[in-house]
């Protein structure tokens, strides 16, 4: 139907403008599934954008991947899922670089991996393997922790500064993302948190127990 180049351009644009809203992620996922015949091109497009954009955008793409896999599974187009399983390590490396520049995204990666595992897209063993690699990056890429030294040791501070400088060389903007990006990220995280909390009200079959718990808690609150 559509010109493959145009599809690729449009999809790239969508990925670049992903935001924290579920809406934007699902919109992009729908687009990808709509042109599932070009799934390979679209997947390469995802990887390309993951390695090219800001850390904020990488995080958003990471969340998008979760949506895409989920939707592809439901649409019985497991090609996307298969490709993602194959390239997950590359994705993680892009979203949470080992140089410490993506330390802020480690939490995002973990969350998404947990979601994918829950959806049986990733094997638990794979997730554990990735987690092991993330553990190092979590604290800020080795010496990256220097900024929050365990002890106010001036030497540690020096090490930190060194590490930061080195990381700067390696990474996109290691020490600090752009101020605007940080604030954007904060807002996006809040937005995601808000959406997440909306699901608090979703009650499952065991909702009765939750009701009882809340009801009891309610009295505790009022009584207190």
């Amino acid at each position: 139907m559509a010109d493959p180049f145009e599809v690729r351009m449009r999809f790239t644009s969508q990925l670049q403008h992903l935001n924290a809203s579920v809406n934007s992620s699902q919109k992009a996922a729908h687009y990808a599934l709509k042109y599932r015949d070009m799934d390979e091109d679209l997947h390469s497009c995802i990887l390309e954008q993951l390695e090219r954009n800001s850390m904020n955008n990488r995080a958003n793409i990471m969340y998008f991947i979760e949506h895409l896999c989920d939707m592809a599974q439901r649409e019985n187009h497991i090609e996307f899922v298969r490709m993602m399983q194959r390239d997950i390590l590359r994705v993680v490396d892009a979203v949470a670089p080992s140089d410490g520049s993506g330390a802020a995204n480690v939490k995002v990666v973990r969350r998404v991996l947990a979601g994918l595992q829950q959806k049986s897209i990733l094997l638990p063993d794979t997730v554990l393997e990735i987690e092991a690699g993330l553990a190092e990056r979590d604290t800020g890429a080795g010496a990256g922790n220097a900024l929050s030294p365990i002890s106010p040791n001036p030497k540690a501070t020096l090490q930190h500064s060194e590490s930061t400088s080195s990381s700067k060389i390696n990474g996109v903007g290691f020490t600090r993302l752009d101020k605007r990006q940080i604030e954007q990220r904060i807002d996006e995280d809040r937005e995601r948190h808000k959406r997440l909390r909306e699901s608090i009200w979703a009650v499952g079959i065991e909702g009765e127990g939750e009701f009882e718990r809340l009801w009891g808690g309610r009295w505790r609150l009022w009584g207190g």
Binding site: G140, L147, S148, R220, W222
Partner: protein
Amino acid sequence: MAASRRSPLMRDQWRAEDDYRDTHRRRDRDRNRGSSDRRQTSPAAPQRQKDTDVELKIKGKATVDSAPGSPSRNKKAEEERGSRKDTTKKESRSPPRRRPRDEDQIKRPRDPSEVRRSDRPRRREEPDLITKRRRTRSRSPAREIFDFREDRRRPRSPIYSGRIDTFRPSSRRLSPLRSSRGDHYSSSYPESGSLAGRFGDSYVPGARRRPSPPAYSDSKHTSYRRRSRSTDRYLKSRKASPVHQRRTSSSDRPPRREKDTAAAKDRPSPRTEHSPSRREEATRRRRTPSPLSRGDARRPTRKQRSPTPERREGARSGRTKMQSSTRPIQSILDDGQRCPSPPRPIPSFDSVPQNPAAISEAFPLHGMKASEVHGTHGNHRPNRPPHLNTQHSYSTSPQWTPNSSHHGSPHSGSPFNQPRGGWGGQQQQYQSQQGLNAYSPPYRQGSYPPQQSPQAQYYPNGQQSPYGGPQQMQPGFQNQPFRGGHSGYRGGHYGQPPDRRFSGSGPPPQSYGPTPTRGRGGHFQNLQWTANSASRGRSDNNQRNSAQHMQNSPPPQIAPSQTNDVDDVDNPFRPSKDLQVEDEIAKEASMPPPRQNSDSSSKVSFAFKAKPAAPMLAKSPPDLTQRMKEPPKKENLLENMNIKAPSRPAENHAGHDRRDDRRERDYRDDHRDNRDYRDHRRGDYRDDRRPGRDQKRDRVRERSPEIIKERKIMTRIKARPTLTTEFNQSTSVYYRKPGNESVVGSGTYGKVFKAIHVYTKNLAALKKIRMDGEKDGFPVTAVREIKLLQSLKHENVVALQEVMVEHNDCFMVFEYLSHDLTGLLNHPTFKLEHAHKKHLGRQLFEGLNYLHRRGVLHRDIKAANILVSNTGQLKLADFGLARFFAKRGKPDYTNRVITIWYRSPELLLGETQYGPAVDIWSAACVIVEIFTRHAIFPGDGGEINQLDKIYNVLGTPTRGEWPGLVDMAWFELLRPTERKPNTFVEKYQERLTPDAFELLQAMFMYDPSKRPTAGDVLEHPYFMTEEPSPRQAIELKDLEGDWHEFESKALRKENERKNQEARRAVRLEEHEREKAKRRASGSTTAERESKRPRPNSSHGEVGSK
């Protein structure tokens, strides 16, 4: 009306019983049930107040929901009851009683036949309900309290009418203080619309009402106290073993016993009819060898009053009638002011009857007041009459509850002696009785004691001085009861009169109002009266005995006459009587039949009474006679008015005749009346108790010169109709100045306006809930805020008074405080002293401690949200971001809370699982601000900069001091670029005291789990030991104007604007010069350059802003 009033007392007293009886009563009144429940919810008057407050707050929200329906229901129910009761009352021989009964019945949903007991409880319950309802309606409890006082003092009728028309809610509010009375009144008033008419119809109701208010106003404290005590006693006695009490009382009243017995005989039948307890009491009384028991005491008083027993009886009846009429008239008058109903003439009656003989005497006595009166009392006491009086009072009260309680133990022999001995002695008796009353449910005792204490307090406050002492106060109560007893003798008359007083109470207070001493004077008068009554009482008793026999047929008439007498007595007692009256009325209604039966017993009691009364006779007779003569006329008028007004025209006519007859019959009536009085007394006591609670609050206010207060009340009454043009034109009950003049705050939530209640003149802060831009209807955040505020009640938390929907806008109505911390700290001249700062800080943490204990996170603590009154009281405000938090479990809240300058580092780092520690951080920022007058972390509004500000002062956090640091969601995002040292010590150590510095260091811990709780802060040495000790910043009252962030901002902007203008002017001058210079060179360049200054200036403005 009366019933309702009585009912409150009854309810209070009976509640315990009621609870038991509730099951029985339930049949009768579903309403009662509801009331009982409500009552249960609100235990004590003080508690009630609190409850009311809470309710008020709730009301604000829920007023619309609950208030309207319930009151109307009550009214309807009352009306229905009234109709039923009326029928039953008609059956009752004594029309006046019937009328009161009707009122009572009206208030009481139950049928008269249902059992007087049930009625009593019902009454109690009903008042509560009403009060509750009213309370709910009433937005501000405090106002209500005041209003109540006013109402009481003021003739109820006028007040009610006025209030009813305009303030029905307020009147209700006022009534709540009086408790049941007010409620009853309000309920009754609203129902009747023209209460005056009803009052006119029913002597009792009007009289009851009227009398009660005046008594309240003047003698409210004393009377309430006394009554309450008596009620307590009564209750106890009732509960415990009414018979025993009565017996004891009878024994106490030996001289009166004959009369009492007679009265008891008379009484028993009615009592039996109405309430088994009454029957028991009557039987007990009858049985009791000493007729002196309540009935006797009352009777003797009557006798004492009336020089010749027959005449006395007639006089009494006439008096009672007169009084009742006068009272009703008064009430009517009062009402008349508001209502066109005939009663208006009554006011004159009130003044006349009271003034002429009894009043004049009483007032002079009042003038003599405590010392003299007490002296007289003391004299009288030694004399039989006073004892009789006291006994009577007891008897009156005992008749219902008191009889049992008072008479129960102490009455026997002791009562006389004690009464004679002194008021205190009587009090002791009561106490002992109470002890005896142990039977009576401890509840009552427990409840009573508080009432008594309050009463005692009242006495001490204002009345004590007159009386001489708290003991006297108690005596005063006793005296009242005695009076009540007298009234009882006159008794029944009094009882009715009290009822009338209640209705008329409004008016009487007016008339009495002038006689500020009413309450006290009333007591004194009562004492005097008692003496008189005692003397008369004896003769009266004899006459009464005969009269009682006679009365059997004419009981109603007797009741009116009694009311007349009562009026005299009532003046002192009015408050209590009023309260009692309602109950008494109901009882009276029931009483008539018993009277007939009990006539013989009453005779016996009379004989007993006569003995004590004899000495009194010489003293009192003239007064009594005078009173009798004078009051009757008034009473006739009043009665006529009342009678006419009432629904029972025939009875009314009869009532007139009866009034005359009553004078003659009064003796008989007295007996009957005694019963009634007992009932009234009981009711009054009950009412008193309730009012006592309310009054306690009121008392504090009222304690100040009663007379003056009454006068003030009068003026208020007059003022009400004439609102200032501004207020009158106000489309809202809350008047606020037009335009933005009234805005005292503005924010994302909307605007806050300063407003004044056009009727109460209370200032309020109206927070307009912003509805524009709300697609989903009423903002859930506002609902959350309202819900939170409704659950909070603390002196350091701003009180939500109500929620008001007006002109399609929703307002939250708060109490108004003149300043907030930002405004105060930015005040150009006012400086807080260290002790003031510490006091403010302590209040801040007390408020926080309360919130956190209640499971509430404020989440927006900042200087601008901390209000300070002009008395230095601090209140936390703006709960727009507050929420309940889970003390257990894993929380997950939004971290976009708290104004960023006051936001804790964990929130800045993205923590969503936080707790009260975030408020502690904010409060620490405020404390620093109080000391330095500047925010400690004034960031630029962004999280990054804010964290930098914190790091600049406190240094960068380490994992050692904050292990959870790296777990913060945005730690990597906002990780500091460089390590910074802690400069807090060097920056603030010298500006703070050592303990304050240490405390702030603790509160500024990075790790939220290491910060102290609000409770810990309050126990810190800074607040506990370090000098100076906290001292309230009462100097704020001298601070002119209101200082809020809003004003200070405006001031700052204004100053900045002036500065900018000055700068601009300077620049312009410079430019002009340059232009002039350039013009010399070339015009074009000058023009180009001239344009530059503008942008420059604008930039300057922006920058300054």
